[in-house]
Symmetry: C2
Subunit: 253 residues, 2 copies
Amino acid sequence: MAAPVYDAIVLFGDSITQAGWTDSAFGAKLANVYSRKLDVLNRGLAGYNTTWALPVLEQCLERGPQRSKTRLIVIWFGANDACIKPSVQHVPLVEFIANIKQMVRLVQEADPETKVILITPPPVNTQQRKEDLESREPPIMTIDRDFEVTQQYAGGVLKAGADCNVPVVNVWVALWQAAGNKEDGLRVYLSDGLHLTRAGYEVGLDDSPTKEADQRTIKVVYDALLERIRASHGELDPEKLPSVFANWTEMSA
Amino acid sequence: MAAPVYDAIVLFGDSITQAGWTDSAFGAKLANVYSRKLDVLNRGLAGYNTTWALPVLEQCLERGPQRSKTRLIVIWFGANDACIKPSVQHVPLVEFIANIKQMVRLVQEADPETKVILITPPPVNTQQRKEDLESREPPIMTIDRDFEVTQQYAGGVLKAGADCNVPVVNVWVALWQAAGNKEDGLRVYLSDGLHLTRAGYEVGLDDSPTKEADQRTIKVVYDALLERIRASHGELDPEKLPSVFANWTEMSA
């Protein structure tokens, strides 16, 4: 028996994607809103940078007629590529951008109808990251990420998106603004200076003028992604997609 | 691009399965615990009885070599079949049992390696259901489900499981015990007398002798299903299954 009679949305990324099904995070929320319509698949690979992820993507590609299709792939890398030397996870910025662009190209070559959305890595809270690393057994005394470097990699995703003409959800900016543009303000949104808390998956900036500053919250990763899907690929709006199998009231007619 | 390079667990049922991805319910939890290992797919069909669901199952079946397989299908019907006449959702008990057995047979014929687990429908709180129906616009004044009838359909699932020699997770009994064997005690676990609340997806009876009566809670649907997977199909224990793609630390070696 094969399950994929539904088309799919694939969330392809690192640990921040992999954890997207915990505690009602964005993956679980998307799977719920697309129920009866599309499968939302977790292709998060904790610790992976784009260099390691590229051959995984190639293994996932199929050409020719398919029983079910990937309608959308969301590519969210950078948090590990932005590790600073001598980390083995480090990928030079130029290579990172080339890798993201190569991923987009591979997807589009395999099936020109598959849509692509990119997401920028979240900002890093280096003080919080340092505390986390030093609290480990044994303690790690060398910090592996840098605020400005990760910001550059977020910029790299924007550049790749512009070069490939695919939309980008700027989670870096949304979280940074939600944190009041202060690294320490990120503590609410990051569990260890790197990974997202539930608030991190949910809370971002809603800058509609009627909102008071302390009420400026939206569910950023989920809501921003869904908003981007609706704006760029309206045919994938969950409210517009038909159910694969008929509503029960039609069965009894 | 085709996503299904991971094998799958399919949750096949009615609205109680379909809602399994809301608010960290059992589907989302399973998808999380199986991340990197298996996809957990929502094949919940709100309102469906087994008679309508059978042809859906047949459309999902594929024979011959597959790139990815369904390792386990969880079949959870009965809540709608147990509707009382003249409801169009009603399926006679004998036919319901035959349908469940036919589903098991279809899965096993298509791929003898696919495992099957059945789940019994939850108990109904008829008073709560009556209140819900009467509160609608326009009010529905005829109750569509009966406590004892649904109990018989839960028994029907047990019979089908015994006849087909496949394991059954008895959610009916777990919730009934958690409710103190009182229909009114089900209000915590049912949102409208029929569908599960978050507590309904989570809370069941842990009758270990050391526990005080008021502490006897476990996450029934999720925990009981996972326990059944481990006991009956140990190779599908998420802790024993290998990841499809290597851990990142192996990539950097």
